[in-house]
Structure formats: C-alpha cells, structure tokens
Symmetry: none
C-alpha cells in the first residue's frame, strides 16, 4: 500500500523534475513558469506544490538529481577499484572533467542562477575514501576532516580557474598529484596514479540539438587540436 502510493508519488515527482530539466535547457530559469512545468509534466498546477515548496525548489532538486546521476555513473567504476589511492585519483579526475566539460551542468547551473557551482564528490564519500586509505595504511594525515575540507576546496578552486581559462587543463593532473601527496603518498606513486587513464565512464548526457556555434567555422576547429602542442 505504501509502496503503491510511493510509486505513484515518485512517478509524478519524476515527471515534474524531467519537465523542469527539459524546460531549463530551452529557456532560462526565469522564463519558466510553474504552470509551464506542470503542463509539461501533464499534471495540474496545484500538484506542483504537493512536491515542492516554491518555484525555486525544483531547480535545486534537479541539481541534486544530476549530481546523483553523476555519482551513479561513477559508482560502477569505483566498485571494482580496490586501491584507495587509485579510488581517490579516479574519482577526482572524474569530477574534474565533469565540472569542466559537462556542458549540461554548466548551462543548468547558470540558467538556474546557481552560478559556477562545481560538480563535486559528496563530502561524506570523500571522507570515507580518505578513511579507507588510512585504514589500509596508504594515507597518512593529521586531521582527517581538515584534509577532506582542503581537498574539496582545492577541487572547487582549480575547477573554477580552469573554467575561467586562467590555468590549462593539465592543471587537473597536477592538482590530483598534489592532493595525493598531501594524503601522504610518495611522489612517484602519485605521479604514476595520476597518469592512469580514466576508465571510460558513461557520463550522462542529454540528447543535444546541433550546436550552432562551431558549425559555421568548422574549418577553424582544427585549432582546438592545437592544445596538444601548446
């Protein structure tokens, strides 16, 4: 009974979330009305407020949803990694590149007025990862919470700097290596771990409508391959 009800409830909630997500990418957050969301989700206006307290609320929920998607996509890869250091390395790398490259996320956070919010590992999981490494004898840190906080801060900071073009993309590897060193790993190990290529993780993407930006200057996009030489 609870299950049935819960099922229906979740379905409606999901419908609203999907509608909201879809609309955000069509128009900008402030152009969207609650009525548009509900009619797009094929429910009545009032139904919205059975699930969210205010118009803004749903956007935060969508953000959480996207974060969960990210996390889930990574979980499969994380599951088969035994080495704590490798786990940290892979996880950080994943979030770095998602923050930088996941245009959906960037567009969404901007549209919704969340600014340049970086995609990040939950601090809980980060903490667990560090603790696991300590138990396994691979990490050595003084204050575990402070360390976690610092790691989170570094990721956030470096992501932003890269996004703003103030530092290059290879700063990612550099940052991860530094973090691993901070966790007490020897230099060489840090370096080695960093260079391990990312296992192919199916980062969630929306179906894209053809971007109109590059189409008219395609002949120029060869320059982006220049990054290898720069």
């Amino acid at each position: 009974m609870e299950v049935v009800s819960s099922d229906k409830r979740q379905a409606t909630r999901k419908a609203l979330l999907s509608a909201a997500k879809e609309l955000v990418f069509e128009k900008g957050h402030d152009r969207i009305s609650v009525q548009e969301i509900t009619s797009c989700a094929r429910v009545a206006t009032g139904t919205y407020y059975n699930y969210f307290d205010s118009k803004q609320d749903i956007f935060y929920a969508v953000a959480d949803d996207m974060k969960d998607e990210m996390a889930r996509a990574l979980d499969d890869s994380r599951a088969i990694i035994k080495d704590p250091a490798m786990l940290v390395s892979v996880t950080l790398k994943y979030y770095f590149y998602q923050t930088i490259d996941n245009d959906d996320w960037r567009e969404f956070t901007h549209c919704v007025g969340l600014g340049d919010l970086p995609l990040q590992q939950s601090s809980e999981q980060c903490l667990e990862d560090i603790q696991r490494g300590i138990k396994a004898g691979r990490f050595r840190v003084d204050d575990i919470h402070f360390t976690q906080n610092l790691v989170t801060g570094m990721v956030s900071h470096v992501s932003r700097e890269i996004q703003k073009g103030r530092i290059g993309r290879n700063a990612v590897e550099f940052a991860i290596r530094s973090i691993l060193q901070m966790l007490g790993l020897p230099d060489l190990v840090s370096k080695a771990l960093t260079q391990t290529p990312l296992p192919p993780i199916a980062a969630p993407k929306r179906a894209r409508r053809a971007s109109q930006t590059s189409s008219d200057i395609t002949s120029i996009t060869e320059y982006s391959s220049a990054k290898k030489t720069l």
Copy 2:
C-alpha cells in the same frame, strides 16, 4: 535650441543607461523592473519609452556602451601605432584578453541573458585595419570580406574555448600569429609581432567588492601560480 534639446536628451539617455548598468550588477536582469530603472535615473516611468522600445532594449544599449568604452580605451593606443600589422596584433590581443578577463562583461552578458557573447572589434574597424594593411603593402588576401569574417570567427571561437578551459591562455598568441600569417605576413614577423607585450591599456573596470571565493582557501592559491610552469 536643437543642440540644447539634444544635450538634454543625451543626458537623460545616459542617466537611464547608467541606472540600468548599475542595477544589473546589483540584482539579476529579471529582478529589475523598468520602474526601478526610471526611479533610479530620476525620471518618470513613461520617459523610458521615449528612449527605448522595450525593457530588453536598454540592455543591448548598455552592452554597446560597454563595447564603446572598450574601444575608446584602446583608441589611444591604436592612434600611435603606424604599422598595420602591429595594429592588428595589438587590437586582437586586447579584445582577447578583455573577453577572457573582463569579469564585468562576462557577468553582465550573463545577467542580461546574452550568453557568452565575446567582446569583439567591430567588423567595420576590422575591415579598415585589413584594408589599411593591404594599401600599405603588408597584407595580401584574396577576398577581404571573407578574411575579415574569418578573423572575427576565429577570435570568437578561440575566446570561447579558452573560457571553457579547453585550451590554455597561450592559445591567444598562437591564434594571433595564425591570423597574421593568414593575412600574408611571414612566419618570423608574425611571431615577433605576437610577442610584443601589450602596452598598458586602462581597461575600464567597475569598483569591485572584494571577492569572497578565494579568500578562504588562500593556502591553495599558490597553485594558480602553477600556471607558469604548466
């Protein structure tokens, strides 16, 4: 009398523009009402529509205003440059860095819903620059309009890529060198011109409130100096 009236007209228009600009940086574009703009500019509500056709209109005007400011700041430097190639080089470099670094512009275009609009040289001026180079015998191009278009496109494209962190900042010099070569300059000359340091141009900036982002992770900001080594 025409002059006086015209003066007054420009004054009112300027007041409206200033009000709009100021408000955009305080609140987000959609939080601003026409009535706020007019009351901030100390004119009546209706007056607005003697100068602009719609609410959106003023934001485009503000954008143009900011572009003009940019252009004027550059004009002094351009005035003393005789060599067309140098002119192109300096101008492109200026707009590149403005696009990338001028946070006011970025914030403004975003707030106003103009997206990631790059700051660019007007196509007219660009055309003139190319023509001047041709007359002076320094440039050699087949189709002058096509060339101008291509240049504009490249700047736009490369700016965006840098902003997204997909290529490093040094892509700027690379791009300029490529453009100069496209215009028919020999390799060495292109290279030389590119490396000429930018004369100090007083890029217009608003008074900034201290950013709170990096302050709490200052110990980490050393990494941003890493960009030199990366």
Copy 3:
C-alpha cells in the same frame, strides 16, 4: 461490530472537532485550512469529508459542542433543583453570565464569523422548564410557545445590550425578575428567587495565556473597582 465501528467513528469525529477548536484559538478562522485540521487530528485529508460536508460545517459543530459542554456543566446543578421557578432562574442566570463573561465563546463565534451569537438554553429545554412549572401549578401563561419564544428573545436582547455596555450588568437580575413575573410569579417571589446566589458551576474554560492588555496600565486598574460604587 456496529458498535466498534461507531466508536471509532466518534473518536475520529472528536479528534477533528478538537483539532478545529484548538486551531481556531490559535489562528483566525480563515487562516485555518482543512488540511491543517486533518493533519492536526492525525487523519488523512479526505477523511474530513466523511464527517463534514464543507469547511464551514465543522465550526458549527464545534459551536454545538461548546454549547453541550455548557449545558452539561449546568445539568448537575439543575438536577438537584426541584422548584421549577428556581430552575428557570438559575438556568437563565447561568446563560446570561456565560454569554457575557465567557471569552472563549465570544472569541470563537467572532473568529468563525458567527457574529455575536448569544449562548442560550435550547428552546426545547426552555419549553420543558415552562411546562414543568405549569404542571406544578407555579407558572401561568396563555400561549406556552409564544412565552418560550419571548423568553428566548429577551435573553438574547439583554445579553447583547449588556455586551455593548448600553445597560449595566445588574440588568441581568432585572431581566430574570421580569421573566419570572411574565411566567405568573408574584413580585416578591420573583425578587427573592433572583437574588439567590448562583451555585458555583464549573464553567468550562480553556487554559488561558496571560492577557497583556491591562498589565501596562496597572495603576489605572483601580478604576475598575469603581464599578462597585457606580
């Protein structure tokens, strides 16, 4: 089974009534939603409509509930009174003072939009009382129904006048005496019965929060003792 079900039914009904009553005294009638009532009564929204036909309905029911409480509190006193004239006298006095002094009732009726509804004996009971007096040979009236109606009307009228301050509180005794005379009692008896002090009846009251009105003018409250001399 009918009994069990009926028991449960009454319990739910009571829960709703209590919730409604409680909420009325916290917020004003229009601030209360059906959903608040149900959640306060710990039942589902829809359950409400198994007991009441509309939102307003429950407030009438609460009013009846309060009236019943009043009546019950009086019943003990009435039970031991044998003399019909005394019964009428005591009953009328009770309702008079309840109407005037019972702030809960006043607040409630106002909040709920019932206006200045006086607390009154049910006309049925009033009729019985009169009939009993007639059978006992103490009352003498022409038209029993008309008399009952008149009594009811007088109580209602006098209560209101006292509440509006147009006549003093002692009008209560005067009114009762007049009614007794109307019922055919000799003058002296009427007078004597009227002056019989009210037996202490535990008038139902809610727990009150301290009134903040008089506290700041305490030095003045001595004047309220003036009522004895006026």
Copy 4:
C-alpha cells in the same frame, strides 16, 4: 500641474477607500478580494497597488479615514471652546461615546481584525490640549508626556470595560472627572464640567440597512429604557 495630478490621485484613492469601506460592511474582511475592491471602485486591478502596498493596507487606511471623520466632526465644536478644561472634557466625552456607541467603528474594527480598538484622540492633539491648559494656568502636572500617556490609557481601558459590560455607562463621567482631577482641577470644577451636556455633534454614520435583530422583539426594547433606573 501638481494640483491636477494630485486631484486625480486623490479621487482614485478615495474611490478605493469608499469601495473598501462599503465592502467591509457587507462581507467580512477576509471575504473581500482586492479585485472586488477595484472593480467596485471601477479601476483596474493593478491600480490598487499604486495606492496601497498590500491587501491589508487599505483597511488601516479606512480606519484612519474614519478617525479623521470623527476628528473633523468634533473640530467644529472644539473650535468655539475657549476653556482648556472644557475642551478636554468635551473631547473625552465625545470619544468615549463614539467608542461605545459607534457601531460602524465597532463592526469595522472587528471585521478587519483590529479587535476592540478604541476610537481615540490623537496623542498629539491630547498633548496640545494639556499644554494649552497649563499655559492658561488651569492645569498643573508634573510630567506632561506621562500624563498624556496615562490619559490615553485610561480612556482605552475604561472604554473596553464598558464595552464588555463590566462597568456601567456612567463610568464615562466618572472617568472624565478623575482625569480632570489628575490635571489639577478642583473637585467641584471637575464635577461641574463633567455634567455639562455634550453639544450635539453630528457623529458620522453610514446609511443603515434595517437591523434584523431587534425587529422581531420590538416589544421588548422597552427594557433598554430600563438603563435609566438601573
């Protein structure tokens, strides 16, 4: 120009106020929607918000309006009174009886959720009256502000008590006499002034629809004449 504009503005404002006042007496404050007010005032919905900030606001304005009416009605009488003591006496008496008897005010404040707000002289005017008496050598008080506050408090308190029927109407004279004594007048003078009959002041009244209360019991209203004997 200012005058013209102001004229129109005041006209609209007045229309809204009248509409609101009228509607309050038809329905209860919460039954009234802004749209009803505006349509009753024959203006557009939005116009309301050019004059009042919220739905509640207009009711406070109506209250002020009614207060002003009261004050103006009294002003003629006040204008011809030279003696400060007489001025105080007459003024207080006026407000007392308005608070008690003005059913419009009572109904209005209740409907609007202002409770039993007493009609009072503005504290400014009260202060002036006291000061005038002092200058004329008729009053003698220690702290003028404290005295004013006390007077205000007494009026408020006594009004309420009378309304609740806890003290008789004659408490009015008693209260005024006490106040005059507080202001330093000799006993006999106070008494004499108090008994001066109120000059006939045209207290503002709305056209009343026939009250349904007393109509059916008219034969009983003779009892209200009982107040003389009580």
